[in-house]
Symmetry: C2
Subunit: 371 residues, 2 copies
């Protein structure tokens, strides 16, 4: 597009400046220009100065394509996401763009829009453009696509976990801390009877969450009641099913933590249908902070992971893989969590703390309700 390229001959008038122009202008060889630009330390100070001067006088920018072609390094990273209009992603992209650009990388965004075709197109685009690594920030990417990348030795990072491999790293979300934040929030409100709906027990990340829950209970000096612990499957339906079983119990907990938001939202639905009020009768807390969490009624208190951490960890991990991380065992890339207090948590029903019923007022945009 840029400019109509005439055949080859007439050295078109507005051709881009190239390294030879700079060399000529600075009266050095093109090799010296290249070395200067790449900060090879052996270049004579004076020559280097001449080169830099020429560069700025001519306003020369090196041609990335040519550099990439010869060096094999594109300084391009792929970011595979599900849908950019899902508010989780813009924040993530922002962090990723920031750190990538700081380090001289560009990012190629591939949205799958939940379509298998778009997904494979995205992977294809990344391979064609020779990305130096891919951050897979969405679930459900088909195995063959990942193999395609792996077979071409493209480093990958996954949120949470992915197929293991030499060039593959999981990002470690700090579930322990996240769950702890949730449990302590409930403890502070005065809850001692806590229930839990887990994710599928085969999934590593949900095992971690369950373990963290139990551990957090211990920290607040509460003995878990096995009756109140259910195994869900991280779906809305799973959450509903578990909540129904729970409601059949003779004694109910005053608060329930769920292994993810979808589970909590399913649970919420059942609670509401059963005529129980959240949080007046029972408090509910999720995990993930998906978009929907803010829009259910009442808005869900939940634990979210830092998009910025995620972005920086993904970048760092990709870079470390690529540069072979000479020193010792692979580093772990942690992602921190934070509690997002909305309106699905409040004092327990019979608590002395409760002004009457409902959520206590808190500062800022945290849950707040005049009773």
């Amino acid at each position: 597009m840029a400019i109509k390229k005439r055949p080859r001959q007439p050295k078109s008038e507005n051709r881009r400046l190239d390294i030879r122009d700079v060399a000529k202008h600075a009266k050095v060889s093109i090799a010296t220009v290249s070395r200067t630009i790449n900060r090879v330390p052996t270049v004579d100070k004076e020559l280097a100065d001449r080169v830099w001067l020429a560069i700025s006088e001519l306003n020369y920018f090196p041609n990335t394509q040519a550099r990439a072609l010869v060096s094999g390094r594109t300084r391009l990273l792929g970011l595979l996401i599900s849908e950019i209009t899902n508010p989780f992603f813009p924040e993530l992209i922002r962090g990723f763009e920031d750190i990538a650009v700081e380090n001289g990388y560009e990012i190629l965004i591939g949205s799958t829009n939940y379509h298998p075709e778009r997904m494979s197109l995205a992977v294809r685009r990344m391979i064609e453009r020779n990305v130096e690594g891919v951050a897979v920030m969405t679930f459900g990417v088909e195995q063959p696509l990942l193999e395609e990348l792996a077979s071409r030795h493209v480093p990958m990072v996954f949120v949470d976990s992915g197929p293991p491999g030499d060039l593959v790293r999981p990002l470690l979300v700090d579930y322990r801390k996240g769950i702890q934040q949730g449990v302590q929030h409930l403890a502070v409100l005065g809850h001692r009877k806590l229930g839990y709906i887990s994710g599928p027990s085969q999934q590593r990340s949900s095992q971690l969450r369950t373990a963290a829950f139990l551990e957090s209970l211990e920290q607040i000096g509460v003995t878990p009641n096995p009756e109140w612990i259910f195994e869900g499957d991280h779906t809305l339906e799973g959450g509903m099913r578990c909540m129904e079983q729970l409601l059949a119990l003779p004694e109910l907990p005053t608060a329930i933590m769920c292994s993810n938001d979808m589970t909590a939202i399913g649970g919420l639905r059942v609670l509401t249908r059963a005529g129980l009020r959240v949080p007046e009768d029972i408090s509910l807390i999720g995990f993930d902070d998906i978009h929907l969490a803010e829009f259910v009624n009442p808005p869900l208190t939940t634990v979210r992971m830092s998009r910025n951490d995620l972005a920086r960890s993904a970048f760092g991990a990709l870079r470390a893989i690529a540069e072979q991380e000479q020193g010792g065992h692979p580093r772990e890339w942690k992602v921190t969590t934070s509690l997002v207090v909305r309106q699905s948590t409040g004092y327990p029903r019979d608590s002395a703390l409760a002004p009457a019923a409902g959520t206590p007022s808190t500062k800022k945009k945290k849950s707040s309700k005049k009773v």
Copy 2:
């Protein structure tokens, strides 16, 4: 990164497949492979078949860098935005990604984050990567940067308008239609006394809006009352100032349209402080549908432009410039608008239509009411 490149000799084991591998496999010359891939029509059908077969058997992807280097076409487009976490942009990006990818382009996103430095970094990145065009989707990009692009013959499109030039196109937002939608919405509710707060009269886009307002009034058979028409400046403060003046008038309009949302939000603030209720006492309607519009109290009814239109127009315009748009005068790229009915508009105070006062119930998010 991708893979540790050993010096040059040992033809590293896991080098990428290249066109020669395909040529060998298909028993043709690399020229034929190239022609086949580029769908040059003169290739013999049978040879072409062999080539395609080889390509798919080897799972070959052409190297974009090499192609770009020799052809001078990167198939890369720059998208200059202010901030990706502003919800205006993800939608825009989505549309842009869709159409770009459909056409074999990639997009390079540059966020300015309202920092002059980031802005020039973004422009620099685009030039370095040799983008074939830039869609400038944010205001306030500094002139020198645009000149930098122009001097390198990079085609540009601007939302609404930008510095004119041979390789520059404005996108034309259909203000007339947008304003009309707003005015008719008010007319349907029963408003006949309409006020207007314009933008700065030097700015072309606000002239267009004002003209459209007057025209729309005529269409609904209302004679404009010059007393109720104020010139704002598209800022919050301007909106407040105008609204204060308006409130000093002996007779007030029942509804006010503003040239943009910030103006309306400023106006809303003054109205609220003056103890007037919106929309019970006075209806208010903005233009743009900025993020904030949804979160003010009451949420602002406004006119928004289609992000998808914007994206597609930007892409189309860029492409047309680049391909020199052989046929006649440059095409116009229109962007449509739509009315977003929220809660700042309702029946006029003394309307027989009003059930009591306040907003009529609406179905969906569109205006529509049973009278």
